[in-house]
């Protein structure tokens, strides 16, 4: 056995298993949410998860975490990224709700490239699909990384188009890294994990203990993370009750650019486009409206 797994010659060094366990344990507190955890880290700058919770609350999680990560049914392995390490991308520190801990599989260098999120309905119109493909192609040609949420509909179109165009794509999951959701995108999820970058902030243990209703709350949080990781968000199409609008709100709060397609404004059944335009969103009639607002020389 690995008796010295948690022995540490340097008090400040990170032991991945220990930090994963501590992060997962923070999530097991009954009122834990992304907000409470982000606040906890904000109030304790520079601290690791294991420095914010006593060992007795997380050491019993070691066997379960080893099992979840080492014997995962997913055909890729979860890695953890923690603030305060050399490999942690400095761009992430700009987010209002700072991202302290991430699980990932794939190429972390993508986080140091310029990313644009492309999001929208799970049940898009045919024109919505075409618009998503067109904007993705143009952004890939301008060397942007395409960020989306691996949902069915617009998200899947954005990822697939980026891959087909030989661009880069990042998928931000609303489920733990070892969970395939939706099932129909499982091949796409594997492909992104192996060739691109797959990210999740959702805790494995809490997710496995919670009801599907409770776990639904991770999806809107995923949209906030996705926005934080991206320089801008483009909304292709969405209804007034769509989860996509969580991301629209987050983008403006995080001082990210928010682009809304003209066709959304022309849709008489929805009222959200005008509301977000008043708050600073940019109306997109053609691609120049997007690229003109992004400094290409940067």
């Amino acid at each position: 056995m690995f008796n010295s797994a948690i022995d540490n010659a340097f008090s400040s060094a990170i032991i991945p298993l220990k930090e994963i366990a501590a992060y997962e344990a923070l999530w097991l507190e009954s009122k834990a949410s992304f907000k409470t955890i982000a606040n906890l880290f904000r109030q304790n700058p520079g601290r690791l998860p294991s420095e914010l919770i006593h060992e007795e609350f997380y050491k019993e999680l070691y066997p379960e975490i080893k099992r979840l990560i080492q014997q995962s049914k997913a055909d890729y392995k979860a890695n953890i990224l923690i603030n305060e390490t050399f490999d942690y991308p400095s761009g992430l520190k700009d987010a209002l709700e700072q991202v302290e801990v991430l699980y990932y599989a794939g190429n972390l260098d993508y986080l140091q490239t310029r990313g644009i999120a492309i999001v929208g309905s799970r049940n898009p119109s045919l024109n919505g699909v075409k618009r998503a493909e067109k904007i993705t192609k143009l952004l890939v040609d301008d060397n942007f990384t395409i960020v989306s949420g691996l949902a069915k509909g617009i998200d899947a179109v954005a990822h697939k188009t980026a891959i087909k165009q030989k661009g880069r794509t990042i998928a931000v999951l609303g489920t733990p890294l070892n969970t395939y959701y939706p099932k129909e995108n499982s091949k796409l999820q594997n492909f992104i994990a192996h060739h691109h970058l797959l990210i999740s902030q959702v805790p494995f243990v809490r997710y496995s203990k919670q009801t599907p209703f409770g776990n639904k709350l991770f999806f809107p949080e995923r949209n906030k993370t996705m926005s934080a990781l991206s320089e801008a968000t483009v909304i292709i199409e969405a209804s007034d009750t769509s989860g996509t609008l969580i991301q629209a709100k987050a983008a403006l709060q995080q001082n990210r650019k928010l682009f809304i397609l003209e066709s959304c404004f022309q849709n008489p059944n929805i009222t959200w486009p005008a509301k977000f335009e008043e708050q600073g969103a940019i109306r997109v009639k053609d691609y120049d409206d997007i690229i003109g607002a992004l400094d290409l020389k940067r």
């Binding site: 008796n3 990170i14 220990k18 055909d75 890729y76 305060e84 390490t85 140091q112």
Partner: protein
Amino acid sequence: MVQKLLQDQYRLIKIDELTIEKHYHLSADDNCYYLMEYKKDDGFDNQEKQLILNFKKKLSTRNTNQWQYKGIAIAKLTALFKNSIVPQVGLDHVTLVPIPPSKCRTDAEYDDRMYQLLRKSFPTNADLRELLYNIENIRSAHDNPQNRPTPQELQANMAINPELANEIRETVILFDDVLTSGGHFLACKNIIRSAFPNVNIIGIFISRTFWAQPDPFEFDDFMEDDWLDF
């Protein structure tokens, strides 16, 4: 690419149960730490990779314009060590030992970059010694990834410099630039253990090799299947 500020302080990361698997010469009770992941062929010119490659530039580039980058890499790594590693080390109790380079001291390509880096990074009262040396040149694992020397071969070719072997402190920290299989660490650990059975041995590596995930299927398989299935 976002440039990192090398004056920042970063935490060392321990090789633990979750990360040990491909460092197959390390064992469960080894105490090895690293600062960054070194990705070999991921198609990116990332900052970590460039820093390591420049640090390892061969002495034969001495008269080319490549050489300046080695000096810049040593200076950057010195800043990184001063902020992130030196404050963690209790200097009164440790002996610092660079893992010897693949060429022996008499070779024109002998590169004591790690010794230089440690000399510049640690205060002058630190107990820094080139305790270990190679008897003959040995093929470098970096240039011969398919025919890496075994830890036994490395050990047989290595010796302790008797002039520097007095009053070794209670902990020896071995330093190297890249951790791959862990074979060099194992060879050094065995030699030091046999001469000084009671010392603690720790490894600090600037980077550890990050292997790409095995590829389960080809791009086309996946595209044919569900490309139009939105």
